[in-house]
Every structure is written in C-alpha cells, then in structure tokens.
C-alpha cells in the first residue's frame, strides 16, 4: 500500500483499454494488486475478467495497438515498469520475471529440440558457451522430472503434461524472482495437473520464487496460493489470504463462485449459479460492475462504485453491503 515498497509486484490503479472497431473494451479498471517476495497470489476470475491482461501488463506485453495503458503504475521489485526502456524491459523478462502460458502446445517451437529452446533463453540472459547453456538446460529438465537425455527430442515427442513441464523448465531456467503462471494446468488432465502443481510447489520453495497464479479454479487456489484476489470486470473486488476469502467470504460474486461449484462431499447440494452474464466491457455499468447479477443489489449499487472496506489487515472487499461497522459480522452466508 505504501509507495516505497519492495514487494515483488505492485500494481496501482492500472487501467487498460483495447480500442477496437466495435468500441473501447475496458479490460482493466483501476486494478490494484501486490505480491510480497516469496508469496503466491491467486488471481481468480472468469473468461474476460482481465486475468491474462493483468499478466501481460506485468511483462509489458499487451498487444499495442489496440491495447493502451490509460492510467496506473506497475512496479516489479520496486522498479517502475512503465517508464523503462525496451532494452531494460527485455533484460527483465526471463531474468527477473517469467511467464507460463496456458497452452503448452503453442508456446513451444515445433522445429527446435527442447534443450535448444531452453538453452536459447539461458543464453539471452547468462554468459557462457553454448555447451554450458545446454548442460544447464538439461539440469532444468531433470528438475521438472524429465530425463535430461530426452532434451534432444522435439516437442511433439512429449505428452501434454511433459510439454507443460518443459515450458515450466524454460520459465525457471534463469531462476526468475517472479513467475506468472496463466492457467498452467487447465489444458492438463487431473492426475497430471496434480503432478505439475506438486512440482511447482517444490520448485517455488526451493528457489523462493514469488508467483502470480492466474486461474479460474478455486480448488487450485486452495492448493497452492497464499493469498487470493478475485477479479471481476477488470477490477479486484475482494482480496485476502485463503482463510479470509474461503471462510469469511464477503463479496456476493465470490460467494456466487463458490456456490456454482458442485460440492464433492455433498452430491445432493443444489447448485446456485450466478444469474446473468458478465457485463459488456465496452459498456460497463456506472455503479458496481456486478450489480445486474447481484441478489443483494440496492439502489446505490447501480449509481456509485463501492469503496473499499477492510475486514482486517489482510482482507478487503468492495461492496456497498459493507461498512466499517458491519464488516466483522457475517452478512451473507454460504
């Protein structure tokens, strides 16, 4: 919250627009987000909520045009990303911060062996001969549980789970301080997902990496994250540590997300979906973005954006239902 922080990530008041022919898509709206060193933040939201845009903004990789950052600041390890030269930014990518994309099939080059691909990343950021880089690449493969000898194979010779591990090895090759994982296991089967998550947990502890885990799956958040931010229409509407958000759920949208999930313990439990659809990002409502879908919406919700209310030092929610006085009580219940 203070400006001179040394958090791994600090995003303040970030707004990003995509100016398309069919209108201005407001992808991020005054988004705030921070990750302390060594911590893992889960960024949870639905398709179109702005999760991926947030990840890309951190690396300054928003396609422009049509993407434009209209306001806000982004700090990585205290350094202002938006004022950096392209050269400084390049040395930061891969070295300080690396990103894992959702689809391992498209983030690997099909005509290069996997060790060459990893070595290429290493060579960009570290001194040494090509052979050093290859050796390092093989070590990285071993680290993610792939025999180093398989490094001279091509991506199509690997299964989906192994490809994603190669992508992770590549991201970790330069020992980044921050890892942005954009739905890293969505394309994988559950048993493979379990393996990959377990491996990521191990590596994170070993290297003390901070992590931004972008996901739609609250189960994965419970598994691997320390804190969680719920994002809706490009804005964080609830943030806290796991106990805050999972057991003292405050925002009606967060509550709706939990209620939409089939409960594995109680198969008779009725699903309570959130009614309606995400608001059109070219035409966001004047008040709270969630008001049209909210069961608790009051008049004020349609007119005015809700302010932030803190429940404790770690947990805040942006909703008109709450004020300083009633935030401690359980207002809505699951």
């Amino acid at each position: 919250m203070s400006a001179n922080t040394t958090n791994a990530v600090d995003i303040k008041n970030l707004s990003v627009e995509f100016r398309t022919d069919s209108g201005i898509v407001k992808a991020l709206n005054n988004l705030d987000l921070s990750i302390a060193h060594g911590r893992t933040l889960g960024l949870v939201g639905e398709t179109g909520a702005g999760k991926t845009t947030t990840g890309l903004s951190l690396l300054r990789l928003i396609p422009s045009p049509p993407g434009v950052i209209t306001s806000g600041e982004i700090f990585l390890d205290g350094k202002d990303v938006l004022t950096m030269s392209e050269k400084e930014m390049q040395s930061l990518r891969g070295k300080y911060v690396a990103m894992i994309f959702q689809d391992p099939m498209t983030s690997l080059d099909p005509v290069m062996t996997v060790e060459d691909q990893i070595a290429e990343v290493i060579a960009l950021h570290e001194e040494g001969t090509h052979q050093d880089a290859i050796n390092h690449a093989r070590e990285m493969l071993e680290l993610v549980g792939i025999p180093g000898a398989r490094g001279n194979e091509y991506p199509h010779q690997f299964s989906g789970g192994m490809k994603q591990r190669v992508v992770i090895a590549m991201a970790l090759a330069c020992n980044p301080k921050l890892l942005i994982a954009d739905e890293p296991t969505t394309a994988l089967d559950v048993t493979i997902q379990a393996q990959v998550l377990e491996m990521m947990k191990g590596l994170r502890e070993k290297y003390d990496t901070s992590m931004l885990m972008i996901t739609h799956d609250l189960g994965i958040v419970a598994e691997i994250c320390d804190e969680v931010s719920i994002i809706y229409a490009g804005h964080v509407i609830e943030h806290g540590n796991l106990v805050d958000v999972f057991e003292n759920t405050k925002h009606p949208y967060t509550e709706g997300l939990f209620n939409s999930l089939p409960n594995i313990e109680d198969r008779q439990a009725e699903l309570k979906p959130i009614k309606g659809l995400m608001p059109d990002p070219t035409n966001l409502p004047e008040g709270c973005a969630f008001c049209d879908r909210c069961d608790y919406a009051k008049d004020i919700c349609f007119k005015q954006k809700p302010a932030r209310t803190w429940r404790n030092e770690t947990h805040y929610v942006e909703c008109h239902l709450y004020n300083e006085k009633n935030i401690g009580e359980k207002v809505i219940g699951r």
């Binding site: 069919s22 209108g23 898509v25 179109g48 702005g50 659809l277 990002p281």
Partner: protein, 289 residues
C-alpha cells in the same frame, strides 16, 4: 481476452465488407472492377456495334489520339477508344461465364472428393492431377484447335483447364470444414450427405473459393487475350483486347498508341481483379479478425 461478446450485431457480409474497406489497394481494385463492370454492361447499349465498332473507314485510318478519337484509330479507321470499351464486354463476360462453368464443375468434384475422402478423393484428384500436368494454355489451344474457333469452344477450353484449380481449392476448404463439430452435429440429427455438404460444409468453405474465383477471372481474361493474340481466341471483327494487341503488332514502331491502350486495358483489369482478390483473402481470413 474474448472480444466476442463485445461485437456489435452485424451480418457476416457487412463484417467482411467493412474489413475490405480498410485495405486501400483492395478498395482501389474494387472501384476499378465496378467501373469495368459498368462499362462492360453499358457499352452494348451506348455503342452501335455495326456502325461504331466494326465499320471500317479507311479515310480515317491510323490517326493519332485526338479530340475526335481519344485513343486514335486503327489501320481500318475504327475508333480505338470505342473498341477498347466494347472489348471489356467481350473479355469480362467470357471471363465470368468461363469461371462460373469452371466453378460449378470444381464445386461438385472438389466437394465430393473432400467430403467423402478415400477412394472417391483418390480417383477425382488423380484425374485433376493429369489435367494440371498439361499447361492450361496448351490444353486450351488443343481444344480450340480441334473443336474450331468460336466463343463457345473458347469457354469450354478455358473452363476445362480451370476446373482442376477450383477442385483443389474447394477440396481443401471442404476438408477443413468437414471435420468441424457442427457437421457431426448435423449427422446426429439425421441430415443426409447432400444437405450437409450444401448447408453446412460449403457455406463455411466460401472464403477461399471466393478469392480463387476473383483471381481466376483475371487469369482467364489474360489467357483469352493470349489465345486471341495467337489467333485462336475471339474471331474477328469482334473487338477483343488480345486480338487488338495482336493486330497492332505490325504498327508498333510508327503507331505505338495502337497497342498501348488495349495493353493498358488488360493490365488495369488484371491488376484490379488481383488487388480485389488479395484484399478479399485478407478480409475473409478469420485469423485477422
């Protein structure tokens, strides 16, 4: 991020047209093509074929461009401007008819090959390969030479040599569309093959076919001009750009304007059709959306 839900309601046609309009060279191509089409349609109405197009007038032969004859006159005293204008009717209509014939053939053969695959595909495409192995112009020359020199035969000759190209394009497009889940969905509700091909597969394979059609019109016009140039095209005295070019060959040193204008006409037509075709290719490509 999904821009899907932000898209304003509009038909696919308008969508494509809008994207085409963003491409300057394609718009230029489109404008010229539309103008040419207008000229081609209006020329037979404006000009009297017997008196203004084919009537010889040796007293005015070989005049340079002037106020009276904008493009000059040819060796028989005919106004070159009139003949170039009228020539567009010949070229464009034959080009269009040929391509429509070839397209129909290509659609049937390509759709069958692509949709059924296997042996049907094998047989159709090997036959097409044989046609493709013979240079198109050569094939056309053979057909015209053996059947005789008439517009009808010219259309047949050009259509036959264009069918393989269309079959391949259609086949490729159909194979892509065939594996889509909505085709399976159509089979699940009991649709028959013909319905699936015409209602589901072909409408979704139109983009490359439209592009190919545009480009093929250009190439047919060009080869008709080529055939006319060597005397196997449109029989005289009907004005045709290739034939006019051929006739002006003898006068190229002293009366170079004679070959300049028909040549320019061919060039403009081909260029504009190609610009339009390339523009359409980009506008119809879903990846560029």
């Amino acid at each position: 991020m999904s821009k899907e839900n932000t898209k304003k309601s509009q038909s696919q046609f308008m969508d494509t047209f809008k994207r085409l309009c963003r491409n300057k060279s394609a718009v230029l191509g489109l404008i010229i093509v539309v103008m040419l089409a207008l000229i081609a349609i209006l020329s037979p109405v404006i000009y009297d074929y017997d008196t203004q197009i084919i009537k010889t007038n040796y007293s005015e032969a070989l005049q340079a461009p002037s106020g009276a004859h904008w493009f000059g006159t040819d060796e028989m005293g005919r106004d070159i401007f009139n003949r170039v204008m009228y020539g567009s009717t010949t070229s464009l209509s034959i080009g269009l008819i040929t391509v429509i014939v070839a397209l129909c053939g290509g659609l049937v053969l390509g759709a069958a090959a692509g949709y059924y695959g296997g042996k049907v595909d094998m047989i159709i495409m090997r036959i097409m390969d044989i046609f493709l192995a013979v240079p198109g112009t050569l094939l056309a020359i053979c057909i015209v030479a053996s059947l005789g020199n008439s517009i009808m035969n010219l259309v047949i000759a050009q259509a036959v040599s264009s069918i393989p190209t269309f079959s391949r394009v259609v086949r490729g497009a159909v194979i892509t569309a065939r594996d889509a889940e909505y085709v399976e969905a159509a089979r699940a509700i009991g649709a028959k093959d013909a319905r699936i091909i015409f209602k589901d597969v072909l409408p979704n394979s139109l983009a490359p076919i439209i592009v190919q059609t545009t480009l093929q019109v250009a190439s047919v016009i060009l080869s008709i001009a080529g055939l006319s140039f060597i005397g196997l095209g449109i029989p005289a005295p009907r004005p045709e750009w290739g034939a006019m070019l051929s006739a002006s060959r003898a006068y190229i040193r002293d009366y170079s304007y004679m070959c300049l204008f028909p040549g320019l006409a061919i060039m403009t037509t081909i260029l504009s059709l190609n610009l339009l075709g390339d523009g359409l290719r980009d506008a119809l490509d879903p990846r560029l959306r």
